[in-house]
Symmetry: C2
Subunit: 478 residues, 2 copies
C-alpha cells in the first residue's frame, strides 16, 4: 500500500481537529512538534503539521473519524522510545502525530483479581510504582520504562529481562479498549482469565505497532510483589555451559527464575574498563558470565539455599568455574550494573552494529558460535559482544569495530554485518527482530523473512481493518 | 454470511478428493460417517457425503484448495468432543468433514527448550504422556483429554483446571502450521519466546474454532514435571471466605498454586449421595468447599508446610472452618473425585441446566449470590449447584430441577434459566462462554454480547481470511 496521502490534507484538517481537542490538545509550532517528529535514536527526522493530544478516548475517536474521512494518516505515539522509528512521521509532512500522553490515569488496581486498569499514556515506570504501592508487581521491565508509555509498550509487545517467567507484554493483557481506523471504539475491557467468545482481537492489536488500531486503555495482569530475591553472578567456561546451568535452574524450580542473562567475557571487560565503579564479583575472568535472579512472594523461601544447591552441582560438573551470590541490595545492584551498562560500555569502546535477534533457547550457544565465526570471516578483527536474555533466547548480538579501524568505514558496512548475523539466525529458525519490532526500520526485511502466505495474511488483515490505510501507513508490513 | 452451499457440490467433489487422499483417507459409507456427524452431547445429528482423512499437511492443503475452488464447505474435526457442536455438520448434507486424526505424530520434545512439536491428531492425553516420558509436563488438563485432539484443543482454546497457573491453550502455543482457506500453508512453526515480526497470527487461529484456518501442527510450551504436589480440602463458611482463602494462597506463593476449585455444599452432597465410595474428608458439612493444589518441580520444597502455614492463618481468621491435607496419592485422588464427579452426581440427582460462565475472580462470590437469588426468583425451589475454577473466575453455574418437579417441564425452561444467569454475568463484566466456545450452539448470542464494532471486526477478519466462506460457515460469528 503506497503512501498516496497529501501534506495539504493534513493541514486542512487542523481547524476541525482543534474544535475537538481544544488549544491545549493541539501543537502546531515547529518548536513544539519537533521533539515528537524525531525518534530517540535519531534515525528519522520527520515533519508534521501538528501533534494532536486528545484528553480522552472520545476525543481520540472523533479525531480518527475525521482523519479517516479525509484520508489523512495518523501516527499514534506514546513515549517515543521506539528502537525502529515506529512512532516517527515521514519527511513529507503528510502525517499527523496522535499523542496518547494525556490519557494518563491509573484507573484501578484490584489486588485480589491481580489486575490493573490503566490508560495508554501512563509511563511503564509509573504503572510499576502504582502496582508496588498496592502490594503487587507489574512484571514487565525494559530499559526505557521511565519514558515508554503503556499504550506503546502494548502496541509493540515489549519484552525485557523477565519474559522467561512472566511473558512478553502480550501475555499480561486481559482487556483492551481500542479506537479503530474508522473511529469506532472497540470496548474489550474485560478482566477475565477465561473468555471464549469469538476471535482473540486483543492479541491482534498487541504487537501491531499502531497499524491496526489505537490502544487507549487496558486491563493488565499483575503478580504478587516478591518478598525474597536472590541473585548470583556466575563465571562459565562457554555458552554451552551457560545453557547447561540454565537447564539446572529450570529443573530445580522453573517457577522461581525471574531472569537468566548471558554476557560475553569481552563485553564484560568493556564494562570493567569504561564504567566507573564496575568490578568483577568473581576472582578470575571467564569466556562468559551469567546472572541468575530468583524471586518469590513466599516468605522464608530459602532462595539462597536454592542458588547454593544448584551452583554446587554446577561447580562439581565444571559447568560453573566460579560464582558470587549477592549478600545485599548493593551487591545485587552491582551485579546488575555489569549487565545494564553493556550498551554504554560498547559505545565508549567505539562504534558498534546492533542486532536484536532470537533463536530457540537450546540453540543460543550454536548461534553465538556460528554468528561470531561468520562475522570474523566477513570482517577480520571485528569483535562480537553477545549479551542478553539467554533464558528466552533473545540475544543482542552486537559487533564492535576492529581495534584501530575507522568508525565511519565500519558503520558503512552495517547492512553486510546484519545480513551475516541474520543468515545464522535463519539457520536456527530464529527471528531477525526479537523484541524491538519492525517500525520504519525493518519493513524491507519482511518479504524475505515473512513473505508468502504469512505477509499476505497480514496485508489482508490490514486492508480489512484499515481500508483507507490511515494508521501508520507503510510501517510493519510495508 | 448465509449458507448457500449445495449438497450436490460436495458429492461431486469426492472423486477428486479420493485421488488426493486415497481409499484409506475417505469414508463415504453412512455407517462409517455417522459417528463423525453427531456431536458427543447428541445436540446435533448432521449429514455428510464423506469424512476426509488426509495423512499429512500436503493432503490437507490439496483438499482445501479443491474445496475452495468448488465452494464446498469443510468442517475440521479432531476428537469430536465439542461442548457446543463446533465440529458437527449441518443436516443439509452440504458440508464435508475433514478429520485431522491421521496427523498423529509427536515429532519432537526438547527438554531444554521446554517445547513439543506435535501434529493436530494426537490426543491430549497422548501428548501429556509423551511430555512426562521426557521429564516434562504439558500443563493442560480437561475432562475429555483422552479423546480430544491437539488440533481441536488449540482451535477452541481449551481451558481446564490449571489455567490459573499455566494459562489456557493459547498461552502454550509458540508455533503453528495452518492450512488457510485457499489451500495455502502458513508455516509459523517457530519455537521462539520472543519474535516481534508483524501481526500475531497464531493467536488469531487459536480460538477461532476452525473458521479461519485448519491447524495441522504446533509447537507447544512445556514446563518441568512437578516433584512435589500437595492438596488440601477446605470447608469454608461462604464463597466470600473461599475468595479470601484464595487471596491468602496467592499472597503466600502464587507460583505454587496449580488449582483452586470451588464446590457448593449442595453439589458436594449430591456427590456423597450418588457416587459410591465418595466421602467427606472433613468432620462437618459446610456451605462451600475448596480444593487447593500446590505443585513444584523443586525437590524438598515443603509444600505441605506452605499448606499448613496458610491454613493455620485462615482457621484463625475464620476463613476456613475445617481442612484436610492429603497424606497419600489415594487421599489426593479421593479429594479430586469429589470435584470430578460433580456433573455425574447432578445427572443422577435429576435434570440440570448448565452454564459455563466467567467473571473477574474477585466477583465470584457476588456473582454466585446474585445468580442464585435470580434463579430462585425465576423458579422457586430450583437448586443452584455452582462449582468450578474459582482461581480463574470460571464457574459452572448449574441449576438442578426443583425437588418433585417434572424434568421435561424443567428442561423446557432452559433458555429462561440461562438468560437469567447471563444477566447476572453481564452485571459483573463476565463472559457467557468461558471455556466451551461458541460453535453451532451459541452464535445467536454473539450479537447481543459481542455486537457492534467487535462482531463487525470479527466478520471483517473472517471475510478477509475466508472470502468463499468454506471453513465451518455459520459457526462462531453466525
Amino acid at each position: 500500500m503506497p503512501d498516496t496521502h497529501a501534506p495539504n490534507a493534513a493541514a486542512a484538517l487542523l481547524p476541525a481537529i482543534r474544535a475537538i481537542v481544544g488549544d491545549r490538545g493541539l501543537l502546531t509550532d515547529p518548536a513544539d512538534t519537533a521533539p515528537y517528529a524525531q525518534d530517540w535514536r535519531k534515525l528519522y527526522t520527520g515533519r508534521t503539521a501538528a501533534v494532536i493530544r486528545p484528553a480522552n478516548t472520545t476525543e481520540v475517536a472523533a479525531v480518527v473519524k475525521l482523519a479517516a474521512q479525509a484520508g489523512v494518516p495518523l501516527i499514534p505515539q506514546g513515549g517515543n522510545t521506539s528502537m525502529v522509528g515506529g512512532a516517527s512521521p515521514t519527511e513529507e509532512g503528510s502525517e499527523l502525530i496522535l499523542s496518547l500522553s494525556r490519557l494518563s490515569q491509573v484507573r484501578a488496581i484490584d489486588p485480589l483479581d491481580m489486575t490493573m486498569t490503566i490508560e495508554a499514556g501512563v509511563t511503564l515506570k509509573a504503572a510499576q510504582n502504582a502496582a508496588l504501592e498496592a502490594g503487587c508487581m507489574l512484571p514487565l521491565s525494559i530499559s526505557s520504562e521511565g519514558t515508554a508509555q503503556i499504550g506503546g509498550v502494548l502496541a509493540v509487545n515489549a519484552g525485557g529481562n523477565n519474559t522467561l517467567r512472566y511473558g512478553n507484554a502480550r501475555d499480561l493483557v486481559l482487556g483492551l479498549e481500542v479506537v479503530l481506523a474508522n473511529g469506532d471504539v472497540w470496548n474489550g475491557m474485560r478482566a477475565l482469565r477465561k473468555d471464549n467468545t469469538g476471535y482473540c482481537l486483543r492479541q491482534l492489536f498487541v504487537g501491531s505497532e499502531g497499524t491496526l488500531g489505537i490502544i487507549t486503555t487496558a486491563i493488565l495482569k499483575l503478580v504478587p510483589k516478591p518478598r525474597e530475591i536472590a541473585v548470583a553472578f556466575c563465571a562459565v567456561p562457554s555458552a554451552e555451559a551457560a545453557l547447561d546451568l540454565f537447564g539446572r535452574f529450570q529443573a530445580h524450580d522453573q517457577a522461581a527464575i525471574q531472569a537468566f542473562e548471558l554476557m560475553s567475557g569481552l563485553g564484560t571487560e568493556f564494562v570493567l574498563k569504561h564504567i566507573p565503579g564496575a568490578t568483577l564479583p568473581v576472582g578470575q575472568a571467564a569466556p562468559f558470565y551469567c546472572i541468575v535472579e530468583l524471586a518469590t512472594p513466599r516468605p522464608n523461601a530459602g532462595l539462597r539455599g536454592s542458588l547454593e544447591a544448584v551452583l554446587e552441582g554446577a561447580l562439581e560438573a565444571g559447568t560453573v568455574v566460579d560464582a558470587a551470590i549477592a549478600e545485599s541490595e548493593a551487591q545485587r545492584a552491582a551485579i546488575w550494573k555489569l549487565r545494564e551498562e553493556h550498551s554504554e560500555a560498547q559505545k565508549r569502546e567505539g562504534a558498534s552494529v546492533k542486532n536484536d535477534v532470537s533463536v530457540p533457547v537450546s540453540k543460543v550457544p550454536a548461534f553465538i558460535a556460528g554468528a561470531t565465526a561468520a562475522c570474523e570471516k566477513l570482517m577480520p578483527g571485528v569483535r562480537a559482544v553477545p549479551f542478553g536474555h539467554m533464558g528466552d533466547g533473545n540475544i543482542h548480538f552486537n559487533l564492535e569495530q576492529p581495534i584501530g579501524s575507522d568508525a565511519a568505514w565500519f558503520l558503512a558496512q552495517d547492512h553486510a554485518i546484519m545480513d551475516t548475523v541474520n543468515e545464522v539466525v535463519r539457520e536456527y529458525g530464529g527471528s531477525f527482530s526479537a523484541e524491538h519490532g519492525i517500525g520504519r526500520l525493518k519493513p524491507y526485511m519482511m518479504p524475505d523473512w515473512r513473505g508468502g502466505p504469512e505477509l499476505d495474511l497480514m496485508r489482508r488483515i490490514k486492508a480489512a481493518l484499515d481500508p483507507a490505510n490511515i494508521l501508520s501507513p507503510g510501517r510493519v508490513i510495508g
